[in-house]
Symmetry: C3
Subunit: 207 residues, 3 copies
């Protein structure tokens, strides 16, 4: 499980950077910036652990994730302009994070004895997107994941992949597969600029 | 309990429609629209189950409510203009939902061994209004229930009615009574256009 | 523990007033005003109890805090203009509340058997600032505590003080110390107008 843990730390780091960047843009103070980075990195896992009744959540019992996200936030504060320019690196790291968070969440449901498809996929999805939803609510934005691009769907497909392959192979193999599927869908949607459909009202006033 | 379950599904359906309609108006994508419908339909019960320590919440263990709300969301997406015109039907279904969610929430507190009035009424209220509060927070609105009309009060009075009558009659009878009281207050407030008071500042600049 | 309980009630009262004042300014109805006061007063403790798995949260089992916050909200509704002018009294009471909530939260973690520094300080901080964060999210503001002044830091330092002194002295003494430290930092930051740093972008367009 060494490699997947490295991906997990990378995902936590990327989420901490993403939250801190938005915090700086929204003119939060240093506490707000680091808190927003932490909420983005740990929020999904917190909500999942609450839902599973796994309390206190892992994020409070093992501070290493908090330390990684706070380190990411501090680096973002110190090197804002340089980091803000690394958009491609951030997008790729965030897609890895989405994949690994989904895999950890889905496998966490099974580890706690809940192996029905709905709850496995839900826990994957909540772990994958929960932090970003919290981040956006805290800075008064309609969550990004509800509005555009293919983000949640990548997590749902990846979690479903985990659910169906977990009985067929060793647990870590199913997690890598989930990560790969989620990552591939997310990156493909960015490369090919695929958006999930938005309802078009027939506005007769439009020329 | 057959009839009250039918009302429960109707309430979940109406909440799914209400969330999806708002999601479409806020230009969410299809995932966002369905998620918002689900949050509106299941959110109150989720928060209640977290508060009662009843984890994982019912909504994750039994996917039927999720399926009903997703079905409601999909129908709303497909027939948006037609459904958007059914305002009276939506208002009445939503009032039934408020009543049945309140009854289910209040009885859930007692079923889990908490029979003090404050917690029984709180759990009725949280189940009744929680989904709508979540929906409004997700789309960046101050929750409707905090701002106007008689909505939360109907739920509080209904839940209090449940608390006082539950020891006197069979459980389902008290639930029907709670549903009827909540529904009647909510509908009466719409028909007679009764708002709960809003503080009027003495603005001397107003002519 | 008599004196610290009096401080606790004062803190709940001040939080109820602060929530109700904002609710009136945001033109909520009477239910919304009282609900916002209650969320501000009880929200931090609710979130902490969820995180600790201490369910149902104390705030639902013992309605006295709810009664105090609702009383505070009603008084604010009845005497809005007079109370709105008591800014200094509100600031001082709020600072006492921040201190006592932090002390109660940090000691609650230890009482439930979690004595690692990260979780003790987190539970102090969540109890201290959680209600205000909820209040601001409900009325569509970026939480105050993320944006300016020294507020969260006072709570973090106070909770750290509790963590390090709790093994050395009777529990109540450590709680008073936490309260005093948090209060002193918060008040000093107001008196000397100290803000936590906000990132300054080098905007070349500024003359």
């Amino acid at each position: 499980m060494f490699l997947i843990e490295m991906f997990l730390y990378l995902g936590v780091f990327a989420a901490g950077v993403s939250g801190a960047l938005i915090g700086i843009k929204k003119e939060l103070d240093l506490f707000g910036v680091l808190f927003l980075g932490g909420a983005t990195a740990l929020g999904g896992g917190l909500v999942r652990d609450v839902m599973l009744g796994n309390l206190p959540p892992v994020g409070f019992l093992d501070p290493v994730y908090f330390l990684v996200s706070t380190g990411a936030g501090l680096l973002t504060w110190l090197f804002y302009h340089r980091i803000n320019r690394l958009q491609k690196f951030i997008l790729v790291s965030d897609a890895i994070g989405l994949g690994v968070f989904t895999a950890v969440g889905a496998s966490s449901a099974i580890r706690h004895g809940f192996d029905e498809p709905f709850i496995v996929i839900s826990m994957g999805l909540i772990t994958g997107i929960g932090g970003g939803v919290l981040r956006d609510v805290f800075v008064k934005e309609i969550p990004f994941v509800f509005r555009k691009e293919v983000y949640a769907i990548a997590s749902i497909v990846g979690a479903a992949g985990y659910y169906f392959t977990a009985p067929l192979m060793p647990r870590p193999a199913a997690m890598y597969l989930c990560l790969a599927v989620t990552f591939a869908i997310r990156i493909a949607s960015i490369v090919f600029k695929i958006d999930f459909p938005v309802y078009k009202e027939n506005k007769p006033s439009k020329p």
